[in-house]
């Protein structure tokens, strides 16, 4: 058996080498196909990873009580007529709930931040209380979060996201320095470690800064706007219960009658995941399908050239049959040839995919993983076998007498 396979292997190699240009052109289809499929799948993985990373900074056990639902079938204008969620709502809510691990208000203003001549533009300035820290998974590169006293008295202190600190300070430790947020002086008390991904854009904690909410209200007068109440459950098992309690307590705060529907929304990460899957997921499948098409075209190229090869070697097939090759041997020989062509294409395609992924990495964090290498090998092998099947079968069932007579 082994010697037959070896024979098939060397015959295939010599057949491929005998038509170098033709083999190369055939391989090209697979190179492009495998390269694009691998790139696409790694890009998808990259996007998924950064989404997961980003979303985990939101926390799977965190609820956001908002005026608006993040995703809803309800008309936007209906929600517009809801009352704003105020700081007082937050205080009442906090005094009434029992289940949560932490409750914090959240107000956001977009401002420019300056340190000396350096400016970070249009930065999300999040105002909250000390307890906000407990609703996140933040860890600190240096310094600390603002304290209870700083929070209560609305002191002008700020915690910088990783990227902001990098942009404004470079390698200098920012702790103790004064930055200007929207023209007001704030003292830096802490810098966060890198948290999220590029995907969440401005929502990425790395590109935000955090200040006491009272300071935010004082300077930027946002108290008339709706805020968000961030509620973290003790653990994700308790999330549902916590949500039910939050709903009841919030209705109590709003003094809603039993027949009235809630005039606020409780949002959570899950909804975000859902919407992500519904939109990005569809785009991903579309992308894979389209790149898969290029692989399909490559496969057709191989099939075509294999049919030509069978035709050209009709006489050879006749000779082999005359001296004892079975159908299976002939079949194996041509399948081997198509698989080798395809595998060579696959490996070259993989090589280009790895090189290109370094370029793409600049935009979407990607890296070609072992799984992608396996994908490339498996799909090129499969493509080779599938596209060789019909030609190999046509070779195997050739009549020996006819093929010996073939010129």
């Amino acid at each position: 058996m082994f010697s037959k396979l070896k024979e098939s292997f060397f015959i295939s190699i010599s057949a491929i080498l005998a038509n170098k240009m033709r083999s190369f052109l055939t391989t090209l289809g697979i190179i492009i196909g495998v390269c694009s499929v691998v790139l696409m799948s790694t890009a998808i993985k990259g996007v998924d990873n950064s989404f997961q990373q980003g979303i985990s900074s939101l926390g799977s056990d965190v609820l956001y009580i908002d005026k608006f639902a993040w995703f809803s079938s309800e008309e936007f204008w209906k929600m517009r007529n809801r009352p704003n969620i105020t700081y007082e709502d937050y205080e009442k809510f906090k005094s009434l709930v029992n289940l949560p691990l932490a409750v914090a208000p959240q107000a956001i203003s977009v401002r420019n931040i300056k340190f000396r001549e350096k400016t970070a533009e249009a930065i999300f300035v999040t105002g909250s209380t000390t307890e906000y820290l407990e609703t996140t998974n933040f860890s600190f590169k240096s310094g600390r979060f603002f304290s209870e006293i700083e929070s209560e008295s609305g002191r002008d202190v700020v915690v910088l996201g990783y990227d902001i600190a990098e942009t404004l300070f470079g390698n200098i430790d920012p702790i103790g320095s004064i930055v200007k947020i929207g023209g007001f002086n704030y003292q830096v008390v802490g810098v966060l470690n890198k948290q999220g991904s590029n995907l969440l854009g401005a929502f990425n904690p790395d590109r935000q800064v955090y200040v006491p909410i009272k300071s935010l209200f004082r300077h930027f007068g946002l108290s008339w706007r709706s805020i968000t109440i961030v509620v973290r459950a003790k653990n994700s098992q308790l999330l549902e219960e916590t949500k039910i309690e939050a709903e009841q307590v919030m209705r109590q705060v709003r003094r809603l009658k039993a027949y009235e529907s809630s005039d606020f929304s409780i949002n959570q990460q899950e909804g975000l995941i859902q919407i992500y899957k519904n939109t990005v997921g569809v785009i991903q499948i579309g992308g894979l399908f389209i790149t898969g098409l290029s692989l399909f075209v490559g496969a057709i190229g191989i099939m075509n050239i294999m049919f030509v090869s069978v035709k050209e070697r009709t006489r050879e097939i006749g000779i082999r049959k005359a001296i004892g090759a079975t159908k299976r041997i002939i079949m194996a020989q041509f399948l081997m040839e198509s698989s080798i062509i395809s595998m060579i294409g696959g490996l070259i395609g993989l090589f280009f995919a790895i090189v290109l992924s370094y370029v793409i990495d600049q935009f979407i964090p990607t890296s070609v993983q072992i799984s992608a290498v396996l994908i490339a090998i498996v799909i090129s092998l499969l493509t080779g076998i599938l596209s060789g099947l019909a030609p190999a079968y046509s070779a195997a069932k050739l009549d020996p007498v006819e093929s010996l007579r073939y010129e």
């Binding site: 010697s3 024979e7 082999r320 005359a322 159908k327 007498v401 010996l404």
Partner: protein
């Protein structure tokens, strides 16, 4: 001629009909034939008389339309593709007018090929192939490719390939047809030697002087055996 030798081939009322469009071409109309071990047979007859068709059926490359064909006592018409391939591999050695070597493989590999299909391992395979090439006088040409060999040498490679698996019978369809008469004569010498060593040979030829090497001449006409001659005394050779 030893009538005690076992019968290798037995054919009864073998016919072969090709259907071309609406026309039926009766290539063989009822062949009865017995071949014993170590016979040396020449098949002659005009073009289109069915010689090659008969040879292909004997060699299990083709199957008869009707009739009984026993090879070493086994009915060939009952065999499936794999069994036929095995018989071609182990029991039959083909030599063709146009040599039919693999053009990209050297002499050694061409001769090894039947052994590869017979699952013979590489060391033994190589030894046997070299021995076969030596026996046809090509021991010094084993790494040459067909296009680096003369016609006579190519036919020797083909004969070595036919011999290498020790088949029951060697079938040669006009083996000298593409060679000049001197080279043809050398090839016939080789067949003579093989016959001396105990091989069974059937060859097709158009030339009387080639046929005279054989011990039995079968003449075909219109798909039937027209006449048979058996020579008990050997022709004198140089």
């Amino acid at each position: 001629m030893n009538d005690e030798n076992p019968i290798i081939i037995e054919m009864k009322d073998i016919t072969k009909t090709y259907i071309v469009g609406l026309e039926h071409v009766h290539a063989l109309r009822g062949i009865n034939l017995k071949v014993r071990k170590n016979e040396y047979i020449a098949i002659m007859g005009p073009s289109g008389s069915g010689k090659s068709t008969l040879m292909n059926i004997i060699g299990c490359l083709d199957t008869p339309t009707t009739g009984l064909y026993l090879f070493n006592g086994m009915s060939v018409s009952d065999m499936d593709d794999n069994q036929l391939a095995k018989i071609r591999n182990k029991e039959i050695g083909f030599v063709f007018q146009t040599f039919n070597l693999l053009p990209r493989s050297n002499a050694l590999h061409n001769v090894e090929l039947p052994l590869i299909y017979a699952n013979v391992y590489s060391q033994e395979r190589k030894e046997r192939a070299v021995r076969a090439l030596n026996s046809v006088g090509l021991g010094d040409r084993i790494h040459h490719k067909p296009n680096e060999l003369s016609g006579g040498q190519r036919q020797r490679v083909a004969i070595a390939r036919a011999l290498v698996n020790n088949p029951s019978i060697i079938l040669a369809d006009e083996p000298t047809g593409n060679l000049d008469s001197k080279t043809g004569e050398e090839i016939m010498q080789l067949f003579e030697e093989l016959h001396q060593k105990g091989n069974t040979i059937i060859l097709i030829t158009h030339e009387e002087y080639i046929a005279e090497h054989a011990k039995r001449i079968i003449r075909l006409r219109d798909g039937l055996i027209e006449s048979e001659e058996i020579f008990t005394t050997r022709k004198v050779m140089v």
